[in-house]
Symmetry: C2
Subunit: 78 residues, 2 copies
């Protein structure tokens, strides 16, 4: 079973990396970019066929490793 | 206008980071994880209201900066 986990910064958390990308895009001549915020995406192959069990394991994975829940949100798509 | 750009490794390209995450998840007791591949996600705020123009600019942004098109694919969602 394929799952996708997207981890993004919470609103209000500064994103220096995103700011750097904005500046670089402007200097590369890419117009119209008002703001950029970078996050992580994990494409996870889960064994078994039970979506509920997979979601529970992926939630544990996010809480323990994939996301820093103090400053990041995570979203699990099965 | 909000857009999301997802950059992932092409099939067949080794992902040592993903392998490391797999190992860590197993050792943290998260079960059922067969494989993990990590990518990047960019939440971009575009000025203007023309989706076609925004898509063209975002494609240029991916080709120039956000993705290494030799080993990565990118997907633009407006």
């Amino acid at each position: 079973m394929k799952a996708r986990v997207v981890v993004t910064l919470k609103n209000g958390v500064l994103d220096p990396q995103g700011k750097a990308i904005e500046g670089a895009l402007n200097s590369l001549g890419v117009e119209g970019v008002a703001s950029v915020r970078q996050g992580k995406v994990f494409d996870v192959e889960m064994a078994g066929a039970d979506p509920a069990a997979a979601k529970a394991q992926l939630t544990a994975a996010c809480e323990k490793l994939l996301a820093n829940t103090v400053i990041e949100n995570y979203q699990i798509d099965l």
